[in-house]
């Protein structure tokens, strides 16, 4: 009983008035943010794009009665042609309706303030999903049928907000076909802690049962992750330990670390190392990665600037008002959060924070204009070694040479060239070359063209697959991004 009392005291401490989470007051005016942020950029500071200026979107505008919010198209032509199409509309101020078509897959998704339901079908395999986002919990359920098998996969999860910063997570997965006479296939318990914008950490324990042709394996997986902003560097790490019991027991480990360091206002250095290990058998796979990116304007790490503070303030205020939100630090997460909150009864109280966050997001937009990335991988299980090098060059808008970009510039053109090589079998080499051109017409519209030439690997040749070319076109429209 002592520990919950301490949590309660902390939550209700005078230094943290926004932490009173149990009874969201029916306020209509914005409450003071936890961390007072500097004045956001004004509308005049919003940049201009190739398609012209783009004002701060009206996040609360209802559909009339339907307003298009997303339109994605993707075409890929290689040995066959695949197409994917997504359209999403906002219906009045009640919610969003989304339709997906990808190959044989058809899907419909309905999103309201607290509920999201979706149905997908692929040649007789289907998924039905429902999520309810309450004040203190998020409950999700999925029923899935795979192929003509009569079994159903049933998944359920519950995330419960212990405090403003701490979430308990659970999920279970069952299979009605009862492989190895067992319905329950997976169960997990985890905890997530978002401490401001500078620290996120989580831990999870998961037990799962795997059916193989050699019998059933029981996996006990313990894992933890952390991401921290320390000065000019962002550090992240992940580690796991897995004990597998069955006919062929083993102990596996995974470790991953990544550092992103703003070595200069316009220069970002990244390093990453991932490894998978097995007790007694050493390293099973690894990935090493290094990247250097030069920006045309000052670069801000996503958890280090005004945007991070605004996002944190918005999520805390939303939580105080009964919305189940954590701070987001990426463009897509922030957009999804704004859309959810735009459907909330509390939206009028939150809109100024949303607008301020959007302005900060625009103000801190990255403008990568040149960079290089190198990767090296080794997979001992498949005995495949590989490396790749990627280089890119960008042109800002208004058009200028990369080194003539200004603080008012936005991304416009970016050309990526990548060469990768994998070696398998007895020094059998397969090269792949990719060229990608991205055209950003404004924050909401991108056009992407990609061409890839791939030499066959040893396994490809054995399977009768030869050298191939792949051409891709993508068009993305995301209103309010």
């Amino acid at each position: 009983m002592i520990l919950p009392a301490c949590f309660l005291l902390l939550a209700a401490s005078p230094q943290d008035p926004a932490a009173a989470i149990d009874q969201p007051p029916p306020v209509t005016a914005p409450a003071p943010s936890l961390q007072p942020a500097p004045t956001p950029p004004t509308g005049a500071e919003l940049p201009s794009y190739p398609l012209g200026p783009l004002a701060v979107p009206d996040f609360l505008a209802p559909g009339h009665p339907f307003t298009l919010t997303d339109l994605d198209f993707h075409l890929q032509d290689t040995v066959r042609t695949d197409q994917a199409f997504t359209a999403r509309v906002k219906f009045k101020d009640l919610g969003y309706l989304r339709a997906d078509f990808e190959g044989e897959t058809r899907g419909l998704t309905l999103t309201t303030h607290r509920l999201e339901v979706s149905a997908f079908d692929t040649n007789g395999s289907w998924d039905l999903t429902a999520d309810y986002r309450g004040r203190r919990f998020v409950a999700s359920g999925v029923v899935r049928r795979l192929g003509s098998d009569s079994g159903r996969l049933v998944e359920g999860s519950l995330d419960f907000r212990l405090t403003r910063e701490v979430e308990l997570q659970t999920f279970v997965v069952g299979d009605s076909s009862r492989p190895d006479e067992r319905f329950l296939r997976e169960a997990a318990l985890g905890v997530f802690w978002q401490h401001g914008s500078a620290l996120e950490t989580g831990a999870q324990f998961e037990r799962s049962y795997e059916s193989t042709l050699a019998g059933e394996n029981r996996h006990d997986l313990s894992s933890g992750s952390v991401i921290a902003q320390l000065g000019a560097a962002e550090l992240s790490g992940f580690g796991s330990y897995e004990d597998v019991q069955g006919r062929f027991p083993r102990r596996l480990g995974e470790a991953s670390g990544q550092a992103r360091w703003s070595v200069a206002p316009k220069l970002l250095l990244e390093a990453q190392a991932d490894g998978n290990f097995e007790a007694g058998a050493g390293t099973r796979s690894h990935l090493y990665r290094g990247a250097l990116t030069w920006f045309g304007r000052r670069f801000t790490l996503p958890r280090a600037g005004e945007l991070a503070r605004r996002s944190l303030a918005l999520s805390r205020e939303a939580f105080r008002r009964g919305e189940y939100e954590f701070a987001s630090f990426d463009v897509d997460g922030l957009r999804a959060q704004r859309e959810r909150l735009g459907l909330s009864p509390q939206k009028q109280a939150l809109v100024s924070d949303m607008e301020a966050g959007y302005r900060a997001e625009v103000a801190e937009r990255p403008l990568p204009l040149a960079g290089v990335e190198v990767r090296q991988t080794d997979d001992a299980l498949a005995d495949v070694r590989g490396w790749s090098v990627l280089a890119f060059l960008g042109m800002p808008w208004p058009p200028a040479l990369p080194w003539r970009a200004s603080e008012g510039s936005v991304p416009f053109l970016r050309l990526d060239l990548m060469h990768s090589q994998s070696v398998s079998a007895t020094d059998f080499r397969a090269d792949e070359n990719t060229a990608r051109l991205t055209v950003s017409l404004n924050r909401e519209m991108d056009l992407l063209l990609r061409f890839t030439r791939t030499e066959p690997s040893a396994l490809d040749i054995i399977r009768g697959i030869g050298e191939r070319s792949t051409f891709e076109v993508s068009w993305v429209y995301a209103r309010g991004r």
């Binding site: 042709l213 050699a214 007694g280 001992a380 398998s424 079998a425 054995i462």
Partner: protein
Amino acid sequence: MIRARLSTVTSRSRRRFLRVAAGLPLGAAGWLGGCSPPHAGTGAPRGQSGGPTPKPPLPGTAILVPRVNGGINVHPARCLGCSPTDPLLDPEVVRVQLAAVYQMGFDGIRVTTPLDRSNFLAAIPYVRAARAIGVDAVCLLSGFEGLTLARALWDPNKRKDVLKLYMDVFATPPEPVRPGLRGLGPKGTGRVAFEILNEPAGTVGVPPDVYVNEILGPCFYDLRSLDPFAGQSTQLIVVSAAEAGNQDGPPRIRAMLEAGLENVCDRINYHIYDRGIIPLLSAHVRGIVWVTESGVPATAEHLAWVRDVFPEIRQQIPDVLRIFYYDLFEPAPGGYRVLDLTLTPEGVKAVVESTALHDYWAANVLEAAAGHPLVGFDELIPDMQPYLPTLADTQAFDAAPWE
């Protein structure tokens, strides 16, 4: 292992001759001795041979060399000193090696049978002659280079034709050289086994689960349908590929097992070149395990490896019934090989390079022979001609539509 092309051999170093080329009844190191019951080759280690106990021969009766030392890898060398493209097949090269196999008391050979014309045909006399004297032959369906064979074994339109070629050429039992060979194949000859690829991840880039599902499984069912002895004790034995004998191997073998390996082969196969992986290899699989490669690349360490590590393998992996030493002969000196081959004016000679190991095996044979004189290889096979590729073999190979 078995990655190097070994079709021709140029090494000429001279060491102690093994007197097989001279046609003596037995090799060096004083193998002739007293009498004892013959020891039948069963694929089992010493003390685990199956079948009824034979009647003891009369004192002074010559017996076949007891097959007490397990199996050994033999490369299908074609000739000494010739070019790699030379299609010559020197029967003496085959005879000298098989004589050594027989005299050193091995119950099985493992020989690569690639899908290129010269080496495919070169493997024929090794397999036929070994089986004719009651020694089992494991045909390793693997190429020395390229992906042709792996591609053919994957391709549903080619697989059965290729396997039929192997069945027709290698699985047809030869006539035994004499009665009472006590081999476990038809009429006492040696059995034949097909090992489907070698270390597939490392040599042809096929991951473990893909190997089981897309290559081994289909091959297993096709071979069963082609085998005229299917369902009988003399049926063809299908051996799975092993994986690398170092630390990379055990996870790959485990992935194969979990993909259903035990259901699509007759023998599960390990390679062991690292003592540390013995505890990591699955000790209790649903089937018999053969270790088709194990050895150490230093002549001075050969004896300790066979004397100490082989028993350790059998003790820690109880399903292991057979271990094939790697290897009898290869061009590089001082590595794995037991013998060197050299050309002399009298013909091809085998020279013992790993003397300590050779003497150890010889002592095992002498002990099992218990004083009986031993029948020489040349008494069993005075002429290699009947085992060489025939016109029908070459026509069958040339007619197979795998390209």
